[in-house]
Symmetry: D3
Subunit: 139 residues, 6 copies
């Protein structure tokens, strides 16, 4: 049966700092540059979650978009929006708040609940600025 | 020989309603929510058609974009733009006007004529709102 | 005291038809072109509401954006989103659903409640497509 | 002599928190909502600086855009980009980091140096999110 | 009678060079920087034309958008699109192809024909890149 | 080990003409249409370079974005920005300046230096106008 892909965009505004706690500020500055500013900085992140699946014969939907949006809000956006990623977000604890790690962590948050919707998580894309984006398609 | 992908964006403004004729309004509202408003609603749809192929040795083109654009206009846009998808569009007859079904139907409209251009249809992406997109890559 | 301007963007997806009931289809087609399609069409409208005022000395706000957003939702978006403008929207009754008339009608919906917020409505801008926009600044 | 307007866009990624130090967290939450998150949040701010003036008879320029851009970078962007607005930015000291105050403070930073370029500052617009923008045209 | 503003966006792709013929390459480089590259460069220009007027009592239109678009195409876009501004465009002859001069020249092209439509030209805005825009409102 | 994709956007403003030197103007016009205008035209090109790789265990980065950006600037943007592609760009010599050829040439410029960064070039996407894009993923 043919598969169709559905992508939902959501947004979150968050602050963060790139710095390893086992490095001093000079070392963090050398490696992470301005992203290691000790008092942090922030972004309007954009998130695109792509799922794939067969169409439901009754509704023609791959998935109910309102349920997909609800899951993304509950599992991801409510944790990240208007938060400090390094301090406030349990699923980022112990990880650097790089765009790469955000993609992987968001994938882990979403994989099971999206499977419960009856479709499969295909990709997680996070845009940090209009010039920088990361994308993850699972292990 | 290496393949290059070409994507052409087109747009159409159309109205529609998500509702099964064999369901009553209450059931349609329960499943399709505000998209089942009895008098309909509408969107500025954006459409991206991606083709792939080898480059022509004389022109370096995968395909002549003016011909690709003409085909998309004749086979898709002229049928959908400033129309009611549920009433006016022959290739959507008998199908719910979901973004998923639009992708599949547009694929069916374009697959043969694009093959006649000497390249292959690779993907059809339809954006219904800035937050919701569907994509289809064939059966 | 200096004035600052605040603009809030909202969106609504709606269907409509440009046609005068006292004209026949041929005459409507002659004047309104494809916008007079008998079964209608639709758009993702974007709306920018601009207010102006002095800053509150305690909060530095011209207005509380969450209240401004709530008013726009209650007075405008809830009436228009996922609706047929010509049939479902009480404040458009008896008016052609042109972008000009939408601007004026939205102004009328918002002028008093925004005054009650303690600031002044400055402009209403409605984008029908990425190429066509109307704007109104009051009588 | 006719005047022409020139607008330069720049961007900065910054973190901030809306909270009065003389209020407790509960009061700040009541007034500033999620923007008062104790550990802060952040945005990709977009800034549009508009100047006006007569055209130089030799170059036809209202102003040399590379000099205008340099001034905005030195006086504004270098202070705000990848910074915590509430802690790191001298010209925001003692002011709430609302979009209104950012507009006014950026105006104050730019008014004199742009006058030295031989044209006049006309407007400062700051977009905090795709839905929220503030604009200032001077006292 | 209240006035409404209508804005039409059009686009043109053109090449140009900023250089005075009475200056040598070194002097042009000093003043115009990389924009004086001897073999030229180019842009996807975006043009917004804003007209104002009272609404027609029969159609509710300030102006027929299809006629406004036709005038902009005939008087402006057909001259500039896929052209070299410095060589191919009669109404730019003898003027530096700066964004300022483009705005003024486009204003001159459009002022009379838009008056003939029964409304008034209000503004011409030309975007050269996503960061640089000029705007003109007449003498 | 799972792979993550990183995409960096850069921009360049350039002029070009589509025309084979072994064809006359009439033949070039017939095949390349308005893109063969003898005096050229131009675009604001947007370029997205996607790399893939495993995350560095210390930094969590697939690649240092500032180094990736520097490579793209040195190998691609500095050659193309504010240039005439047909005359000024050594790596486009002898090739038609089609979007397809730009993708392939930019891939060739970037493949080795990106490998030296420790990751792999995955895709090169070039947007010529908001409607036309080409993409290349290697031979």
């Amino acid at each position: 049966m043919p598969q169709v892909f559905i992508t939902r965009r959501e947004r979150f505004a968050a602050s963060h700092r790139l710095a390893r706690p086992d490095w001093n500020d000079a070392k963090n500055l050398e490696v992470f540059g301005k992203c290691s500013n000790p008092n942090g900085h922030g972004h309007n992140y954009e998130l695109w979650v792509t799922v794939k699946g067969e169409q439901d014969p009754e509704t023609s939907f791959v998935t109910d978009l309102s349920q997909l949006s609800r899951i993304i809000k509950e599992e991801v956006i409510d944790h990240l929006d208007h938060k400090n990623i390094d301090v406030d977000v349990s699923f980022m604890r112990g990880r650097l708040s790089s765009t790469e790690n955000l993609c992987v962590a968001i994938w882990e948050q979403l994989e099971a609940p999206i499977k419960n919707l009856g479709c499969a998580l295909h990709g997680v894309k996070v845009q940090e600025t209009e010039n920088n984006t990361a994308e993850y398609h699972g292990a």
